[in-house]
Symmetry: C2
Subunit: 273 residues, 2 copies
Amino acid sequence: MSVSAEASYRLRYGGQVVGEPPAQWTEVLAQQLAHRSVRRYRAEGEVSDETLSALIAAAQSAPTSGNLQLWSVVAVRNDARRRRLAELAGEQEFIAQAPLFLVWLADLARARQVTSSAGSSTAEGADFVEAALLSFIDVALAAQNASLAAESLGLGTVFVGAIRNKPLEVAAELGLPPNVFPVFGLTVGHPDELAPTAVKPRLPQDAVLHKEQYTLDAAHLESYEDVLNGFYASEGLPEGWAKRVAHRFGSVSGLKGREHLRAALLDRGFQLR
Amino acid sequence: MSVSAEASYRLRYGGQVVGEPPAQWTEVLAQQLAHRSVRRYRAEGEVSDETLSALIAAAQSAPTSGNLQLWSVVAVRNDARRRRLAELAGEQEFIAQAPLFLVWLADLARARQVTSSAGSSTAEGADFVEAALLSFIDVALAAQNASLAAESLGLGTVFVGAIRNKPLEVAAELGLPPNVFPVFGLTVGHPDELAPTAVKPRLPQDAVLHKEQYTLDAAHLESYEDVLNGFYASEGLPEGWAKRVAHRFGSVSGLKGREHLRAALLDRGFQLR
């Protein structure tokens, strides 16, 4: 795999200058910088049980606050179920095409059960925003490890936030008990070499990395708009970055149903006190 | 680095049987499974600017929903500031000892600014729980990449959720504007070889991995209690897993101030609609 540090930086930042890459370069860094979203999968080619086990071992190896392990995951391989989930997630066909769809869950049910087995009459702490946040962080750390592990095995992945468009329907499809919430999906499969995807340039480092204290310099955002417009144009996409962000946040309709997320969390037992 | 798959599985699951590791094993998987929390750092040994840049490049290479990049990070090296942050985070001395403390931020300020620069009169979408969740997920995916990248370079890290004990004080210390919230910290430094840490066994895979639909089998939790009690005893720690979980969630006092997280988020502009 070992792409050089210089080449990796160039692709990741779309040619923007970001300072010297380090003298020491690792397989891990090379794999991370080469990340790209894969939404097209070869028709043949399953993901074996051994590979699935490795992805979950990677996920479980991620840090978890106080070893609480406030997450679970459902591995969906059944065709009909993937098709139903694809429909619930904004009719994204690639979910039905990928051989494996992992649905990552914020799981406070297990901790509540363990708390009660330890003789506590309530698990009041789990009613707070803090507990929900702990579970969201835990599941994201775990899933990122699984995604990178999959990429290191030559597989392609993409995160699917759109399962939050209809979280209650997704919960019903997966038989989730109260206090377990579907946070995002991750498709896993063998990339279709006929439809390769490019590394997407990110904001210049100075826009996200602050030294000692936070500063916000609008100039970074303007230079990025230029870089990203070039990238989108090369992909045949019409819109720039600012317009895309504005579509998402400019009005409630950009949330595509996710404006009901709070109500859905409450419905599933995440009390957000 | 390349520890074998079998040895990695054995350590990560404390000898529990979890099925066959995959035939294909990668540097990435080996690095992930070898993760351990490092809270003791060598007194000498800085983290260079080039290394910091590599960690941030790794973080920025993580997936981000719709390329929104709803996070930022403050790199704190200043001794006095690290000491103040150590105090705010429950007097955890290792924050002052590590040469670098990264404070990871959920950042809706940049997206609001970009939305307004694109001509939108409001950024109403950013007022919802969904926007906050997007930023929490984004920052966790990014930070996990940075942590693994650091480990691949021979550095040690540990996540610090305790900055949420006093998030408003942390925000003031770092000069955070509205709509930017400190989610967790990450210490980075050269591990003290005189105080090595062990790989912590996780729940058996069957407890977190569900096939097609969710099931919860209490037997997994009992077997884990035994495994983990053995681990804690070997580290000279008195309590088992269930008691630790119960301490955290059995009552509000286990949250150590984080029961005010919702109010703090609202105070900083995260409206959680």
